[in-house]
């Protein structure tokens, strides 16, 4: 971006008439950006402030120190939610990454009906999380879904009851989430595969490399930047997963599939403990930062390197 056209670094100050003439331009650039940035900063600060107040049903002023934080951190709900986030987050990201990459590679083989197949893998993105959660809660429910169907067909010892199994229920959320969003990963990877320089591949083929070797040595290494983008986008999805979980398990069986976003909403709006809910939200933001800061650092290093190159 070093060669970008620059207005801010032009020598000298623009004349006042110039400023006036370009006012519409400044307004259209700055107004949306500033409003958007302002709402994000002020909403975050507001939430941080609320997390230190004794707010219950509605926001009130006051100061309770870290009491809301200690209460949230001590609650079983949050502890379970946090553990689940680690498991769900890593399993979901990994699986949608693998699924997406695999589908992209398969679709990249100049196969017949690519348009149709791509649409099939992408359409879950069009469906709302609530609907996804509801439909999967039908399919995965052993009493009315797949297990029931198989039983009715005669295989009565068949078991697929993860939805009602405390230890496995979190995996049903992984399944539904991967189903819904691996198409996005596929699209990004496909985009990446399509932008690999054909000459490099040709050269490798001339050197006698087989397809698997070409993928491993030539193509996949170029996909690193995309992989990072996919991971960040999917992690973002994992951390804020809400509607899907609420419709699929609603945190159950018991409280076995609680996730931070559910806890935040529950505390803030169902339990009427706004201060605690805000504290949980701030903790969520901290988790997000823990993910995003390394990413930002990586981007920074990468950009420096490419600028020097």
């Amino acid at each position: 971006m070093t060669s970008a056209v620059s207005t801010a670094t032009q020598p000298g100050r623009p004349a006042t008439s110039e400023m006036v003439r370009r006012l519409p331009e400044y307004l259209t650039i700055w107004l949306p950006l500033l409003v958007s940035a302002a709402h994000l900063v002020s909403f975050s600060l507001w939430t941080i402030w609320i997390s230190f107040t004794p707010s219950t049903l509605v926001p009130v002023s006051g100061w309770v120190g870290l009491r809301n934080y200690t209460a949230v951190l001590a609650s079983r709900n949050w502890q379970i939610a946090f553990d689940n986030l680690l498991l769900f987050g890593s399993a979901f990201v990994l699986l949608s990454l693998v699924t997406g990459l695999m589908l992209a590679i398969l679709l990249d083989q100049r196969i017949r009906g690519e348009n149709v197949l791509r649409t099939i893998f992408l359409y879950p993105l069009a469906v709302s999380f609530v609907v996804t959660g509801t439909v999967w809660s039908w399919l995965l429910n052993p009493g009315i879904g797949i297990q029931k169907l198989v039983h009715d067909l005669g295989w009565t010892s068949f078991r697929f009851d993860w939805l009602v199994d405390r230890d496995m229920a979190i995996w049903t959320i992984v399944i539904a989430a991967v189903w819904q969003s691996s198409g996005f990963a596929m699209a990004l990877f496909l985009a990446g595969l399509r932008s690999v320089d054909a000459d490099i591949i040709k050269a490798a083929q001339i050197d006698g490399a087989g397809p698997i070797r070409i993928y491993r040595r030539v193509i996949l290494p170029t996909l690193w930047p995309i992989t990072i983008t996919v991971v960040v986008v999917q992690l973002q999805f994992a951390i804020s997963a809400f509607d899907l979980v609420r419709a699929l398990t609603n945190g159950g069986p018991g409280i076995a599939t609680q996730l931070p976003a559910l806890v935040v909403y529950d505390l803030m709006f169902q339990r009427g403990q706004l201060g605690r809910g805000a504290a949980a939200a701030v903790l969520m933001l901290l988790i997000l930062l823990a993910v995003l800061l390394p990413y930002a650092a990586w981007r920074y290093v990468q950009r420096r390197r490419s600028n020097h190159a």
Binding site: T56, L57, V58, A71, A74, S75, R76, N77, S137, L140, N141, P142, G143, I144, Q147, D161, L163, V164, R166, L248, T249, N250, G252, P253, G254, I255, A256, Y265, D266, F269, Q270, R271, G272, Q273
Partner: protein, 428 residues
């Protein structure tokens, strides 16, 4: 007391209300209008509120209902947003201790004069009245009552068990369940898998074992009672119940299993009267099941009170004020309560409504009789699972423990007792 005399008195009450300056001015000058927020949108709930709105319009009012479908939380979000915006609805659905909590964040109107004019206080169960007049003033009006621990018995499951005795105590209940199991009923208990469903299993157990312990531990949060032997016994009974339930229900609502219940594939259901409204709307016959008060070890009915109510928010607009007066009068009107309960399967709040006539079911009659008995014996307590006993924060913390216990059979009853006490401590 027969309906007719009450109605006459109510008319007199309306006249008395007219004499009150603020209301009088409002009522004579403008067409009453009412803005209402509720979550009642589907099934019998939706049908009942719609019928109420029609009555409101018949009386010359304009009915502006804003249903918020989904969980109660979304309804409260909407209400909160309106209150923060300084534009509360004239009237909204709210229940239990939340009435007191919410009345602190926005001004409500004092309904004392209207309640007095209708003679309403005398015909409302005292525990219930208390919830709707925090600080001694009526600001909200209960509309209908359910008992969350009514016992529904499937006719066909009873036949399979070759049983005809209706269980009275938990021992009877447990014996019947075993008989049903032996007689080929796959699951003696028909259940849903939602949080209130799980909560009901526990609260029915505890209240049936000891209403006094329920009152002390759940309603008054007495530390000693919370760790008492009755709580442990209740958890043990809840475990028995959960052993007889279909483990495959997941988070599906109880209504998913109604057909299996009627077919006798499932035997008993611990539910509120709302299930009756749903069963009727689904086309099932009342001969297919029996409704009786939930098990009680002292053989006298225990009533776990759950009441839906409206709270009235202060508005300056004369037409809304007139609408509030009209709405309050309608809600307290025995004819309206009759209409409402006959749609939803509840019983009227008024204890003086005669349920012997057509349009009432045996189940409703037994529920009303149970309420009368329970109030007389001090055995009417407030439901935890349906947010009547405690504010939502505390309720949710306790239900967390209960739902985990119901779904996780490795948790021992004594462990659950400790966890429940800890949850109460943590949420206070």
């Amino acid at each position: 007391m027969p309906i007719t005399t009450t109605r006459r008195r109510l008319l007199a009450g309306s006249a008395a209300a007219l004499a009150l300056p603020a209301f009088a001015r409002a009522q004579s000058a403008v067409k009453p209008r009412l803005t209402v927020i509720s979550q009642w949108s589907a099934g019998s709930d939706g049908a009942a509120i719609t019928a109420l709105g029609k009555k409101f319009e018949e009386k010359g009012g304009t009915w502006q209902h804003s249903p918020v479908p989904g969980f109660t939380t979304e309804m409260m979000n909407k209400l909160r947003a309106q209150i923060i915006a300084g534009d509360p609805p004239a009237c909204s659905q709210l229940k239990g201790p939340e009435i007191a909590a919410w009345s602190k964040i926005a001004p409500t109107i004092n309904l004392d004069a209207l309640v007095a004019a209708a003679g309403y206080e005398k015909v409302v169960a005292p525990d219930l009245a208390r919830l709707h007049k925090p600080g001694g003033k009526w600001i909200s009006l209960p509309l209908q009552i359910y008992s969350t621990n009514m016992l529904f018995l499937s006719k066909r499951a009873m036949d399979k068990a070759k049983a005809d005795k209706i269980p009275v105590t938990w021992t009877d209940f447990n014996e019947l369940a075993e008989k049903m199991k032996a007689g080929g009923v796959t699951y003696p208990i028909a259940n849903g898998g939602t949080r209130p469903d799980d909560g009901q299993k526990f609260e029915a157990s505890l209240a049936g074992i000891s209403p006094a312990a329920y009152r002390a531990a759940i309603m008054n949060l007495d530390k000693k009672a919370l760790e008492g032997p009755e709580i442990k016994a209740a958890f043990a009974q809840a475990r028995k119940i959960s052993d007889w339930m279909d483990p495959n229900v997941g988070a599906q609502p109880y209504a998913t299993n109604l057909k299996r219940f009627i077919d006798g594939d499932m035997g008993m259901m611990i539910q509120g009267g709302w299930a009756q409204g749903v069963l009727r709307n689904a086309g099932f016959k009342f001969d297919d099941f029996t409704i009786t008060p939930g098990p009680s070890d002292n053989s006298k009915p225990v009533f776990l009170l759950n009441a839906d109510a409206f709270i009235f928010w202060q508005r300056k607009e004369p037409d809304l004020q007139a609408g509030q007066t009209l709405m309050a009068q309608l809600v307290m009107d025995p004819a309206i309560q009759t209409m409402y309960s006959q749609i939803t399967g509840s019983i009227p709040v008024r204890t003086d409504v005669d349920l012997s006539g057509e349009g009432w079911s045996d189940g409703q009659r037994r529920t009303a009789a149970a309420l009368k008995d329970a109030v007389a014996n001090n055995q009417a307590v407030l439901s935890l699972a349906h947010n009547m006993a405690q504010e939502n924060g505390l309720t949710a913390a306790m239900i967390d423990v209960i739902t985990e216990y119901v779904k996780n059979k490795t948790i021992k009853p004594e462990e659950a007792v400790t966890r429940l006490a800890e949850a109460v401590e943590g949420a206070r």
